[in-house]
Amino acid sequence: MIVQNIFFWVLALAMVLGAIGVVRSQNVVHAALYLVVVMAGAAAQYILLAAEFVAWVQVIIYIGAVIILFLFGIMLTRAPMGGDTKLDNDQRWPAAVVSVFLAGVLGALLIDAFGKKEIVISGAKGEQLLQVGKAGHLADSIFTAYVVPFEVVSILLLAALVGAVVIARRD
């Protein structure tokens, strides 16, 4: 019980610092690398919650594909590497006020709504949790109850692929 909490707080600290690095770094490539820290931390949190399949999908898709796509985007837009050009606009303080206000509202709401509700991870309920996270169980769910959304998502991916090619193509 305690061990999971220690892991949670270490990962949470790394993720929050990484996220601040993403939005504050003055070097575009460093921001992409900080994003890797956040993504990997999220994958570790999923493993902590026994969602192993989603964790590995996160590693493959986000860290494997999305970050590479970002690095390609940085390369193709010839983003400034030296930190000589400003990457932030002049509404930094209003943005900080908005996000702190939003954090306060969300935090108060969550504490009010869920209080000390606990995710039970020991005993028979813990066994049940491990069953829920299994890849086979997830596959059963996707290909029975959620088969229509699954097919719709595949159409959406095709549309996004064609759309990206059409938008980025030189005429």
């Binding site: 929050v16 970002f70 995710i119 996270g133």
Partner: protein
Amino acid sequence: MILNQFLILAAVLFCIGVYGVLARRNGVLVLMSVELMLNAVNINLIAFSAYLRETAGEVFALFVITIAAAEVGVGLAIVLLIYRNLHSPDLDHVEQLKG
């Protein structure tokens, strides 16, 4: 583990993402902040999935990951087009429709 520790972590990450979207001017960095927000939502979905012992949350998280990948593809294509037309990836320069 308490459910709220995951939810509040996700809320904090989401708010950092909101800050990034509002304060960044480079298009690629704005997209990175959007990814941060989508990731926060995924943590919420997985936490509720573990709390309720339901697979639905994990299935939705997979869908969100898929849609995030599609969004990055289209978004980077748009940023590339902005760069090609305005010779800068900065979103401040996109103001042709400004009255």
